[in-house]
């Protein structure tokens, strides 16, 4: 794994990247949000305290999904009406990236894809879409905002606050998410996974549960 090293422009601590395509990371010592430019790292903000969180996953957690090993390198915490959820940023051993969401310990894996057809400019509940020969139905429209970021991310997310997601479901469990924060909107495809399917290592420990 490539690990280009640099120093935090704020506190001087070493900053390493596990994924060469990462655009943004956080300094684990001073919690500065750092954006990678062509030449160096630039501090663009500071992470506020992360909300209390009981996800068993952490930066550095490793796993294997369908014989592909991954490591968790970053995270976005979203807050919405009914609480929080985590989008963990994964890098696979073939250098591709993806996401693992943990919403009250319901786990989903997803990947950003280039939309085979233009994604509708707006979404409403019950709207039907067809991608990769699969029909999706919008089951909810979620207004969320960033509650915190951590580690390496593929985009600069530090300056965004509110996001609008359309969640689409299918009859076999596969789902899609349209992220309306960007223009054109981003499309993610994913599927629910069982905890045991991911063969985790280096998880957090919980007192009384070992």
């Amino acid at each position: 794994m490539s690990a280009p090293a640099a120093n935090c422009p704020n506190c001087g601590a070493p900053v390493t990247f596990r994924w060469s395509s990462a655009v943004q990371t956080t300094c684990e010592f001073c919690h500065s949000i750092l954006v990678r430019t062509d030449v160096n790292l630039e501090k663009v903000g500071e992470v506020s305290d992360l909300p209390p969180d009981a996800s068993p996953i952490q930066i550095g957690t490793e796993g294997i999904y369908q014989n592909k090993a991954f490591v968790v390198i970053g995270r976005i915490i979203y807050e919405y009406e009914q609480g929080y959820w985590n989008e963990w940023h994964l890098v696979y051993n073939d250098s591709t990236n993806g996401w693992l969401s943990d919403a009250q310990l319901e786990y989903d894996l997803s990947w950003q894809i280039a939309p085979p057809e233009p994604v509708p400019a707006s979404a409403y509940k019950g709207m039907k879409c067809q991608w990769n020969n699969k029909s999706f139905e919008v089951s909810s429209i979620t207004n969320a905002h960033y509650k915190g970021v951590q580690g390496e991310l593929p985009f600069q997310y530090w300056d965004k606050s509110d996001v609008l997601f359309a969640d689409l479901r299918t009859t076999d469990g596969d789902f899609a998410t349209i992220d309306y924060t960007e223009h054109p909107p981003l499309l993610f495809l994913g599927r629910p996974v069982e905890f045991d399917d991911l063969h985790f290592k280096n998880l957090r420990l919980f007192e009384g549960w070992s």
């Binding site: 009981a54 068993p56 930066i59 310990l105 076999d172 469990g173 957090r204 919980f206 007192e207």
Partner: protein
Amino acid sequence: MASSIVTPPVVKPKSLNCPGCGAAVEIRGFAHTLNVVCPNCLSVLDATTPEIEILQKFQRKERIQPKIPLGTRGKLGNVAYQVIGFQRREVDSGGDIFCWDEYLLFNPYYGFRYLTEYQGHWNYVRVLSALPVELPALGKPSVEFQGRRYRHFDSLQARTNYILGEFPWQIRVGDSVDDRDFVSPPYMLSAETTSGELTWSFAEYTPGSQIWAAFQLPGSPPATSGIFANQPSPYEGKPGSAWRTWLWLTVALVAIALIFSMTSSNKEVFQNTYLFTPGSKTDASFVTPTFELTGRTSNVEIALRTDLNNNWAYFNFALINEDTGQDFDFGREVSYYRDSDGSEGSPKDSAIIPRVPAGKYYLRVEPEMESRTFQSMSYELTIRRDVPTQFFFWIAGLLLLIPPIFISVRAAGFEAARWRESDYASSTSSGGGGDDD
């Protein structure tokens, strides 16, 4: 690892003190817990804020003791879960209140599961991310999920009337949800709607004894009462297999009957024609010449063909073994009447004596007629050895019908009892066949 500063190595459970009464309140669900109920004063607390705001106080004369105490751990499907929350829900069905209990189970890695209990019937429940397909309704609505068809059972409004422990969502006593249940025993799909959000969950009927074993609870589970919506029928699949068994046995029976009829010798051993005149002074009885019955112990048929017309006759018979004196006595009545309206009886008759050993026999014959008629009767007497009979096979065939009919009736009765508790109770036999396969 690099993240050790942000995330401590071991997450510790927190506890707080109830701002209402000061009692210590244990939190088992870590940061997942949003609301927790003070076990002492039944205040619903916001566990996420440092001030521990009281969200609701509910009073009950009677404290409910969950059948599985909060904090109990048990292994379900090889994963340990801890009971961290409890709610009693009720439904008002035309003035009758029905209550059931829901237990919230937690594992910090595997997440949340539920157990529900109604009158000793337990279900193990998890939330679904896939969407069941609602099928076009022709009569009873149904949904399809993973190739299985679930039939609508009931729609109800469930109201929370008691809560204990902690929940990863906002909860208050008095909350209500709209719920639709679809069954395909032992599974049930439930669609819960709260403020526009639809959540599907998947339940599997689980015997109380399994729950007791999983959570190592003392004593035995409460006995079940009635039949639950997705309780598997003890007759599941049995009518089908009983009818399949019936079919094979019947085929075998027909084959045996055919073999019997093909292998029976059906040999005529005696035939003669006689004339009988009633009222004659001579003794009407006579014996036939001796004839030989050969082969295996088998039946003997005595057949009569008379020329009776608007008249009757009675015959006393005795088949007598010449060597042993063993006799088979019986009587036959032959009558035949006809007029413009039709006819009654038959001038012919035949009787079968079963299980007659081989040997030399003769037949004693004693005809009787009403003596006033002065009408004589001519009759032909034929004796046949080892004739094919279907009578016993018909009896056996009828007896074979009893088990499948019995099982089918019981199975239909079980389904009828199940559906009596549904929204389709008024149409008595709406359950129909339980076989979905």
